[in-house]
Amino acid sequence: MAPPAAGLSGLLLLWGLASLQLPAAILPTPWDVAGRLGSLLGEGALWADTAVTLRNVLLAFFLSLLGGVFLGLGVGRWPALGRALHPVVVVVEAAPHIAWLVLAVLWLGIGAGPPVLVGVSMALPLVYMATAHGLSQVDQGLLDMAHVYRLSRWTRVWYIFLPHLALTLTGAASSALSVAWRSVIMAEAFSSDAGLGQSLWGGYLYGAIDDVYATILWIVLLGLALEYLLIDPVRHRIERRLRHE
């Protein structure tokens, strides 16, 4: 059995064993939750929330990717900018999700804005730091070669910096998507009138524990799908194209 499948099976087994010892109001069985998930998907309500969350997560992810790479490139070009940004990055990273959430609701009101802003605030520093670090790690020998052969700026960016960054960023993108996924859903619970986070929190408030677990299971499955169906293929494709080992 492949390691990811073995890990998941082990988790399900543990859940099943624990649920037999605990009341259903605390921990329903995996098969009850799976059944409830099937019903929710069949009813259609979960699909609408899923679409909202996916939109928020992907928006936060791509904004983080764009902003992080842009800032990282700026720091690579002007190191003084990196020193100026350092305290800002520390503050952003140190602030808890809830602090960003409160500020986002104050600034943007209830809706899609706060989840996206919280997602960006958590994911962008990861991409920015990976970009800045990646640029600082570009092989000095390749830069010497580019200098001696007077390669144009465009050639250096296209053939040296971008491939190098692509390799660095695939790892960072995976982390950024994971962080955006978690923080957006958390923010939706308290600042949005739609989305999986809001659905989850609503289920808890109304005491629909099966719904809560079914939504959590759905969130986990979607997170895995994003990782294995979106990020992993892109990462493998980039590595195959660039490493040739």
Partner: protein, 276 residues
């Protein structure tokens, strides 16, 4: 002056050449924190000659090449560049791992001239390896791509920074012969940096022997086998190798030379100076 002195012509002394100067270093100094670097180095490289720079580790050989390549700037002294195109073979081949051998060579050519890139690869014996990525090539083949890249652009001056140091004996011998043949055929000026005296004696017409901390010229020796067509006479090469070794160790370059160390033009030991 005695007969012996008038008749004697030191085989290691530099001789004037009509070939145009490609590069002139005058009193070039570049000192890094900690005292490493080079101090007061003079050097002229002419078209068609291979100048070796030899010395123990830390004598500033690579710094000198970085100064010539423009990757470092001198604290003192001047560098006059009279060449149009510069090529370089690095210690590591410095190939882009995401490009094939052919594309690596094409990259440095104007208008990505594929025909010339192919010719350059074939000239270094890489027929059939054009579409291979660097990770699939052996160390020797990667270095051949680096040599092809440097020669494809038809440089006037070629810099070689310990290009064979990471290769095995047989590959090194092959590549040394390849470089010697190609360089002669293309009539380039070459600066060949190495700590391997055998390589230097085999390839170079003239050798700058450097001492360390900071790097400075200990001696400048002419190879008596220089200018010989075809394979260089092993006896002459071996003799020259000995002289270079002696100079590195601080001895006089020629036991047979009647000149005193003060008057020998091939042994220029700068006076000790206090570092700034």
């Amino acid at each position: 002056m005695s007969d012996l002195q008038t008749e004697f012509r030191c085989p290691f002394e530099d001789s004037p050449s009509d070939a145009p100067d490609l590069l002139t270093l005058e009193g070039v100094t570049r000192i890094f924190p900690g005292g490493q670097g080079v101090k007061g180095v003079d050097l002229v490289v002419r078209r068609g000659e291979v100048v070796g720079i030899c010395g123990a580790s830390g004598c500033g050989k690579s710094t000198l090449l970085r100064l010539v390549a423009g990757r470092e700037h001198p604290d003192e002294g001047g560098i006059r560049r009279d060449y149009h195109r510069l090529g370089m073979v690095f210690q590591e081949p410095n190939l882009l791992p995401w490009l094939t051998a052919l594309r690596n060579v094409e990259l440095v050519l104007s208008r990505r001239d594929r025909v010339r890139a192919l010719e350059a690869l074939h000239a270094v014996g890489l027929e059939g390896a054009e579409a291979q990525y660097p990770a699939r090539l052996s160390g020797g083949m990667r270095q051949r791509v680096g040599i092809a890249r440097a020669l494809a652009m038809e440089p006037d001056l070629l810099l070689m920074d310990e290009p064979f140091s990471s290769l095995d004996y047989f590959t090194r011998t092959d590549l040394l012969e390849l470089v010697r043949t190609r360089v002669r055929a293309l009539d380039l000026g070459v600066i060949f940096v190495s700590h391997d005296v055998r390589e230097v004696a085999h390839l170079c017409d003239r050798v700058l022997v450097m001492g360390r901390t900071p790097g400075r010229t200990l001696a400048e020796l002419r190879n008596p086998a220089s200018g010989k067509q075809g394979r260089r006479p092993p006896g002459l090469v071996a003799r020259f190798e000995e002289r270079v070794l002696e100079a590195i160790r601080g001895g006089h370059p020629s036991a047979a030379c009647p000149a005193s160390s003060e008057s020998c033009p091939s042994l220029r030991t700068p006076p000790e100076e206090t570092l700034p």
